[in-house]
Chain length 432, copies 2
Amino acid sequence: MTEMRVLKGTKDYLPDEQALREKIREDLVQTFRLYNFGPLETPILEYYDILASKYAGGEEILKETYTLGDQGERELGLRYDLTVPFSRVIAMNPNVKMPFKRWEMGKVFRDGPIKLGRYREFTQCDVDVVGIKSMAADAELVSMAVDAFERIGIPVYVEVNNMKLLSSILEVVGVEKSKVKNAILVVDKLKKIGPKGVKTELEEKGIEKIDFNLLFGLLEDGKTKEGALKRLEEKAVDKSGKEGAEELRELFKYLKRFDVDEIVRFVPSLARGLGFYTGTIFEVYAKDSKMSSSVAGGGRYDEIIGKFLESGKEYPAVGISFGLEAICDVIKGMPEGAVRISSGLKVYVISLEQMDKAIETVSMFRSAGIEADIGYSGRKLTKELDYANKIKVPYVIILGKEEVKAGKLQLRDMNTGEQSLVSLEEAVRKLK
Amino acid sequence: MTEMRVLKGTKDYLPDEQALREKIREDLVQTFRLYNFGPLETPILEYYDILASKYAGGEEILKETYTLGDQGERELGLRYDLTVPFSRVIAMNPNVKMPFKRWEMGKVFRDGPIKLGRYREFTQCDVDVVGIKSMAADAELVSMAVDAFERIGIPVYVEVNNMKLLSSILEVVGVEKSKVKNAILVVDKLKKIGPKGVKTELEEKGIEKIDFNLLFGLLEDGKTKEGALKRLEEKAVDKSGKEGAEELRELFKYLKRFDVDEIVRFVPSLARGLGFYTGTIFEVYAKDSKMSSSVAGGGRYDEIIGKFLESGKEYPAVGISFGLEAICDVIKGMPEGAVRISSGLKVYVISLEQMDKAIETVSMFRSAGIEADIGYSGRKLTKELDYANKIKVPYVIILGKEEVKAGKLQLRDMNTGEQSLVSLEEAVRKLK
C-alpha cells in the first residue's frame, strides 16, 4: 500500500488556514487594482537556460533549482522567483506600454535545506513597475503597502534606505570598494546584533581598519529623516553617495505627498541582504508583533532587467514582495477577531422533514449573499445542533412542521442559545 | 545570448487577458463561498508513488506525468490533477468533519502532445463534496454551477445522466458486459456524430449484434425528463439500472427544489468519457455559443477515493470541474461589454506641475474605492491625453494652476471629449 505523505518543505493548506490566505489574497488584489497594477500569470515551467542565464538569480539560487526533462528531451526547470519570468515577459513583448505595472502571485520552488520558515514550494506575491525613474513610483509602492495592510488589518511601519548612500558611507569610513558588498550584509544586522556584534562580524571578514565610531554615528536613526539625511549627505561626498542622498530627499517629499511620512522611518543601516537593489530599499514590519521578520519588502533595481535581457536598454524598475506566510503568522499571533475573515459560514439550515422549504430557504440566503448551508442527512435535531456547534456556525435555522405552517423560521443564535420565530426577510436582515 | 521563449503548451497571460481570468476566479470563489465550500491548497510537487498508485489517474495519464528528482534523490512528480491530492488529504486527515466540502484552483501539468486547446501546464478548478450519499448533493452542485455562470454572465444549460442507467441500457440492447465501457465512449458522441456515426463506430469496435433500433429509441431525449426516465426504467430491469433510475428520479426532485429544473436537460446518451464516474454525471454548456465543448462538468464517483486509499472505507463523493480556458473562450466570443470586467482603470490624473494636489487627488479616489492612476513623467498635456487614449481609460482629471486655485478638478470624459469643472466630491460620485 502506498504511504500517504507530503514532501518536506511543501504543505497542504486545509480550509481553516487557507481561508485566511484567501482573505489576504483578496485584500492584496483589491489594493493592487486601486493602484492600477494589472495581473500577470507566467508559467511555472521554464526553459532551464533562461533560469540559468547570467543575470538571473545567480549561482546560489541555481543550486536550488529543480530541473527536469520532458518527452521532447528539453531541459526545463521550475521557476525559483517571479522576477525572471517578469523580465522574460518584458523582453518578449517589446510593445508593452510603459510604465508597465503588474502584480503576480504564484508558486515558486527551491530545492534547498529546510530550516524554520523555509519552504521548497511556496507562494510569492510581487508587485512591480517598470519605466518610472522618479521616486514617486517608490513612494507610491510604500503607500500601496500601507493601504494593503490597513485593509488586511495589520498595523505596520516601514523602514527605508538607499543602497547608493549606504555603499558610499561604507567607503567613507574606510571599507575597501571590493569589500563593500560583504560589509553591507553585516551592517544590515545592526538593529538585531547591535554595534558590538557588527564590529565583531566585520572584523571576522577582515574589515578592520575602518573608523567604527564614525560608522555607528552615521548609522544612527536621528530625530528626523531630514536631519539624519543631512548628516549622511555631508559625509558621502562621492557622486553615487550624493545621488543616493538626492533620491532619498525626493522619496521623502513624495512620501509626504502620499501622506505616509509618519509611518516611514529612515534607517541608514537597512540593506535587504542581496546585491539586487540599486537605490531605494524598504521593509514593512508589523507593529507590536513578536515576529522579527518583515511582512513585505522591496526596492529599486534599475539595472537587473536590462542586464538580464542583454539588450543595452535601461529599464528603471521598482518592486515590492509580500510575504504571504509571514503575514499569516502575524495574524495568527494577534488576538482572535482582530482580523476579520468574512468567508465563514453564517447560517446552517436544519430540516425536520421539511426539505422543500429548507432548500428554498438556503437558496434565498445564498441569493441574498449570505454564506449558507443545509444538512441532508435527516439526522435528529440534537445531532444536527451538535454538528452546528462543532463547525462553529453563528446561526442556525430550524424548520419543522409548525414553522412551515406559520410561514416562519426558527432562528437560533448559537452563541447565546436564544431562539426566535422570524420571517425570511427578518432573518436575511439579521444575517447580512 | 539566451533566447527568450516559453515552452509550447505553457503561456504568459498578460494583464488584459489575465484580468478576465481574475474576474472569473472571483465570481467562482464568491459562489463557492455562498455554498459553504472551503478553500484547499495542495502542493504541486508530490511523491511519484502517490501519483502512480493503482487507483490514481491510470496508465494513460502516468505516461504524461512530469517526473523529477531532488537533492535528496527522492522521486517526485508534478501533479496531473487535483483529485489525487484531494484523496491524499482525506487519507492524511481522518478527523476532517464530514461532509467535507472544498474547492481548489491550481496548476496541473501533463507532458503530452499539444493539440488545439491542450496545454502542458494549465489551471484546474475543482469543487467536491465527500460524505453525502443523497442526490441532494448532486443537485446542489448543479445549482451552484448555474449560480456561478449567472454571476459570470454566461447563459448556460445543463445536461444530466446516470452512469448506472446507461450501462444497464447498453447491456439490455445486447452489449456484452466486458464491452460496456468501450460502448459508452462511443455512445457519448451521439449528439455530435448522430446514430449513423455511433453505429459505425460501435461496429468498428466489434459491437455489432445489438438491437440498434431499441438503443437509439431509448437514447432519445424525450419530451419530459420524467417521461424519458420512465421509458428507460421499464427496460433497465437489472439491479444497477433500477438504482440508476431511482437516483435520477431523486435528482430530478432535488433539481426542482433548487429551482434549476428548467435549465437541466436529461440526455440518456451523456457519458463524460472516462470510467471515473459511478452515478450522476452532468455537463454545463454555454447557450448560443459556437463552442461545442462544455464550460464545466462533473459527477458522482463514490468508489474512487476509497479504492485509492485502499482503506476499505466508503467515501461517497460528487464533484464539478470548471474549465477556466473554455469559459474565457466563450466570453471572448460574446459581444463586447456582455461580460463586465470591473477591474479596469477608471480615472487617470494628469498633473500640470501640480504634483502635490494631483497625488492628493489620486489618493482620495483610491480611498473611495475607485481604480485610479497618475502620470509622473511631467509630459505635456497633449502627450498625456494621447497616453490616456491608448490605455483606454474612460475619464481623465486635468490639474493645472487654475484648477488648483479654484479648488476644483477638470474632469474629461474620454469617450465624448466633454470637460467639466467639478469638485472632488462630484468627481467621486460620478466615477463610483
